[in-house]
Symmetry: C2
């Protein structure tokens, strides 16, 4: 009779094991990560598994709970004391007695999007760089006068096996007291980030310690977002966000770099500011999660290159001009104490690699999260800020570039522009006949022509127009025939409506005739044309590098990407034509990438390897970029008259399309059903009269 | 025609290499450490070698300077700019053109005793854990936007080859500026302490940096001694010593441990005190050597377990009682910044392993320096303090123990005792007939019966009697018949001389009848008997473990060991009988061991391995210890009536013997020729009358 066959899900790893082998041991031998702190003592409960019952014909397995050994004394004692959910068993105690399909619970999955599926249905498992180990240490023996730490290390090696094991310096000072407090039983935290690398004891506690936490933090130029995550279950315990306090030194990246260049202590001031805010966020998530700061042992940070440098304390001046040299592009590993983050004394930090001088660790995190390198589809990832970071590719090949979009998409350089904040216009519709506008303002779900709108925005007022609002109003102006294909506001319409306002030699569209008066000027249109042309030209360059005419999927990352409506982005020609259902906003994608790197060190190796092989295209050095840029100035683009989009907007009728719910909405607001009715240019003709 | 044969001295490594191979390359392939910072650019001059001319019949080599390529352009340029001593060549430029015997200069050798020979004539080469590497880095390239640090690392790997190379966090913040200052050429300091371990960039400078320094520091309970050493030549640049400021918390080790137990912030206060004093010593040696503190990159510390713990910031309380558990016994590696030592930000520290709870890193350093494990002779190493640390063994086997001698040898528990300091009596002679004493005082080279003595000691005065003085006076009292074999002061002699003074039921010897009045009391004799019995019993125990009746060589380490006269130590029975010529004081041996570990990382591995295999004997747990102790109370010992010593003292006449110069002298004082005339007990008889 051959040994039973055991299949572990969701990894799908399988193998045969002699009867009597514990499930934990089988998992280990197959390289399936099952958490265990107590090392098989049936006390920590971290190694719970479930048996899937049934006949799995494809795998030739008849799996049944009876194929596990009955609950023994130790396991029963645990179930009594700590509660074992029905169907759950402790894998350190349950032994294999027949064929089994074992489910390793991935608690983080539903909650935190940690388990993501790529095209291959690959499921991601947890394998953090910091883990807890419960150790029972021999008492001191005068015959063998090994030091406390040395006996502890020897026991860890014996119980868990590490090639090389060192201890952080601060551990030396704690080890005696902790061993005695725990009556020679302690839990150690071990940092072990690479297979071949040395493992290090970074912290220790008396007795059994059953929980440890990590941070995943996305340092945006505008917003810092943080998640507090259990390293043992993957659960997101608390999340918080705050404005980046560096805004007071400069609204956008380049003005912050200038600040450093002009002020001798500018770099220090900004580094201090961002670290302080991060420390405050730690307080918030720790309080919300009921977690002690000293139980936070690992932290992953992502950010664009300037944020990356300023957070680490590196002068970002070089990033302000060619050749845009990064001080360090590879992943950065350090101790949280080096950055004075006030976590556990032994806590580590990890920053994802930067792709290039303008394509940062945030873009790497989005890449890790969206996984173009894990699939065959040609995926375009666009993260829009002052520069657009663009990654295009699939399993075979990845290319990346940044395009100098300027800050227009962020509301700068726009006459009534502002950052996305309460009071800003974010959605605009223009009646194709009357050319009358209606709009939505951040903070309210009402359209401006709906009853109660004035009251709804009373608290914040109406303050300006943000990036997504600018995109929509200009796209609507184009669809309504107010601006021509080459972006000229049609002054002839002034005779039909007071919404068209003369401004010397050019005309503007009066979006709001109140306080404040909001105009969309010819210059505003030009600014958006320049920005979108830069973005599109960069994308086009990468498509040429890949030798493709079309992309299969588009991911819009970052704050702007979250709020912009993909339809309008496509109408205006920010992004190339694509099936609408394959276009999605992935606003929190950088944060997700950070969480993945936090919870599984394999993702660190994966993104390090991916970033190494991404081909970096410097748009400024590519002669074709200028040509693409000029062509992309037109509305939508001379190169890409969005046949897919047009097709979808006409057949089936546009209504169905536009009713598709937004993938991500601010404040739970849902876009009302409405009709995008392109009046003239949907035919591709350039006629301009109605 | 076969390839030329090249022999490197002093290592003796040899091999054949094709003509045209550089000498540096040949050395590397043979694993001969030849320094090179610039990596073969003929600019650093660190790779100088010399050719030994002549016919080396034993090696079948006819070596001649013409067997090296002629001086080329690069080498000539170097010689012009930097001066190349006659006969010296740069091994990176000179190529092999015929058979050669190459001398790799060991500059540290003569100066600093770094090169030590053991019984096998083995010569120790330099191979420090921190080395400098000059690197020319590629400029940033927008097509390949690798970070500055990443390009630097890539170039280091390419030029010098490291498996894994990381950088200290602080390097991230310096790399940009330094690369640009050096116009893309920098010198990096790399810490690479173990073959398989990751190397780390710990510091960098613009352009070529040609010198770096390390510290070797022996933290004694009484004195801290420090050497500043060039890591590139091995030369000792400066040395300094200072009293351990912890003395104000407690004279001896146990009183310092008590201080910690009784004072909540005692540990911190003592840690701070010793680190502050070490920092002051760094200032002194740096100033004396004309060296910047930030050029100090590595530091090796040794000390007994209590000093070791307090320096590292570890509570030493556990060392105050059984089982005398060390917090850490293995070698400790840390960053100097962890201990706030104010060296280069990336500087490392290394502390040698401790052997047992009472046998510390200082004993390990002495073992490393004296090398019992490198020879066949049975060597006894004794380091006397409050506890005597004893190591006995040879290549095959090493055993170690500590014996509770108490502080009598340090002058404590002795009625007129004091630490070895100016004003203390350190040498004593007693006339065998008149029983009149004469003595020498620390700070003067005159005997007390010589003209000018009073004036010579006027500055310091006469303050007491130190350890070596006590040993001598009691040995002399024994040799003069004042005390019996069982240590009783003979009151009967009071009738012959006023030097014998009644003290109730016991008698004392009046060593100095002035201010102060110095008596050697019966209690003093008893205290020394107890101390020496403990020491001898420990030694005897180890000899039994080794199964030997005699030892071949004795090394007396530490301050007491430096000052005590081996003859008197043997007369009194502190140490077992041995050929006098094989007994030597090695007072600076711990410092030498520290320097060895500083200059060659192989010594770190060597002592780590040796300490692991030393068998630790706990005297308190050995039933025979008590028996040996009782037997060793007699003068000299019931077990060991020093036949060797007696033989040497009688044949040839004692005079020759006692004229042998002292191996180590304080203040350059040389022992005057004098006669040790044992009056009665040299015959081994126990008769007590004259």
């Amino acid at each position: 009779m051959s040994d039973p066959l055991v299949l572990f899900m969701p990894s799908g790893k399988r193998g045969r094991f002699p009867r009597g082998t514990t499930v934990l041991e089988a998992a280990r031998r197959l390289g399936v990560y099952v958490e265990s702190v107590c090392g098989g003592r049936a006390t920590c409960g971290r190694c719970e598994i479930e048996v899937q019952e049934g006949h799995f014909a494809k795998h030739k397995i008849l799996s049944a709970t009876e194929h596990l050994s009955p609950v023994g004394a130790k396991e029963a004692r645990y179930a009594e004391k700590r509660e074992l959910a029905p169907g759950r068993r402790l894998s350190c105690s349950a032994t294999i007695e027949g064929d089994l399909v074992i489910d390793v619970p991935q608690e983080g999955a539903a909650n935190a999007q940690i388990v993501r599926k790529d095209a291959d249905n690959r499921v991601i498992e947890r394998h953090p760089a910091v883990h807890l180990r419960y150790i029972e240490v021999e008492e001191p023996d005068m015959h063998h006068p090994l030091g406390d730490l040395d006996r502890l290390k020897a026991q860890i090696r014996k119980d868990w096996g590490y090639n090389r094991l060192d201890a952080d310096f601060h551990v030396l000072c704690d080890v005696q007291k902790t061993l005695r407090q725990g009556n020679w039983a302690v839990t150690v935290a071990i940092h072990h980030d690479e297979e071949e690398d040395a493992a290090r004891i970074i912290a220790l506690w008396p007795g059994l310690k059953n929980e440890a936490y990590g941070l995943a933090c996305d340092i945006g130029s505008t917003t810092i977002a943080m998640h507090l995550v259990s390293l043992l279950s993957g659960r997101v315990v608390a999340s918080a966000g705050a404005p980046n306090p560096q805004i007071r030194f400069g609204e956008d990246l380049m003005s912050r770099v200038s600040y450093v260049m002009l002020n001798p202590d500018g770099r220090q001031a900004m580094t201090k500011a961002v670290r302080l805010e991060i420390s405050r966020l730690v307080d918030r998530v720790a309080t919300e999660g009921g977690v002690n700061r000293s139980d936070i042992l690992d932290a992953v940070f992502v950010g664009n290159p300037v944020m990356h440098h300023l957070f680490l304390g590196i002068d970002p001046t070089e990033l302000g001009g060619a050749p845009f040299a990064l001080a360090v592009s590879g992943a950065v590993k350090a101790r949280a104490a080096d950055l004075h983050l006030g976590l556990n004394s032994g806590a580590r930090i990890y920053m994802l690699p930067c792709i290039a001088g303008h394509v940062g660790a945030d873009a790497a995190a989005v890449t890790l999260s969206e996984g173009p390198h894990r699939q065959d589809k040609m995926m375009l990832i666009v993260d829009i800020g002052t520069n657009a970071e663009i990654v295009l590719g699939n399993r075979k090949r990845l290319v990346a570039a940044s395009s100098p979009t300027g800050p227009a998409f962020e509301g700068a350089e726009i006459s009534s522009g502002q950052r996305a904040a309460a009071g800003a216009i974010e959605r605009v519709r223009i009646d194709r006949t009357t050319l009358e506008p209606r709009f939505q303002v951040i903070g309210s779900q009402l359209w401006s022509n709906e009853p109660g709108f004035a009251e709804a925005i009373a608290a914040t007022g109406l303050t300006g127009i943000c990036g997504s609002g600018i995109i929509e109003v200009i796209a609507e102006m184009y669809l309504s025939g107010i601006i021509s294909e080459d972006g000229v506001v049609d002054g002839g319409l002034a005779t039909r409506t007071a919404r068209i306002v003369s401004q010397g030699r050019t005309f503007a569209y009066l979006l709001h005739d109140g306080e404040p008066r909001i105009l969309v000027t010819q210059n505003d249109v030009r600014a958006i044309q320049l920005a979108k042309a830069a973005l599109y030209a960069g994308t086009k360059l990468l498509m040429e590098k890949q030798g493709v005419e079309r992309v299969d999927a588009i991911r819009l990352a970052g704050a702007f990407g979250s709020y912009v409506d993909p339809i309008y982005a496509m109408v205006l020609g920010l992004i190339p034509d694509c099936e609408l259902k394959n276009v999605s906003a992935v606003g929190n994608s950088a944060g997700t990438g950070a969480r993945m790197a936090l919870l599984n060190r394999s993702f660190r190796r994966e993104i390090e390897e991916v970033v190494r092989r991404i081909e970096k295209i410097e748009t400024a050095l590519e002669p074709k970029f200028q040509k693409h840029f000029v062509h992309a100035m037109a509305l939508p683009n001379k190169m890409d008259p969005f046949p897919k989009l047009r097709q979808q907007m006409e057949l089936p009728p546009c209504k169905a399309l536009s009713e598709e719910p937004r993938r991500r909405s601010r404040g739970g607001a849902r876009r009302k059903a409405e009709i995008l009715k392109p009046r003239r240019r949907c035919t591709g003709q350039s006629g301009k009269e109605s």
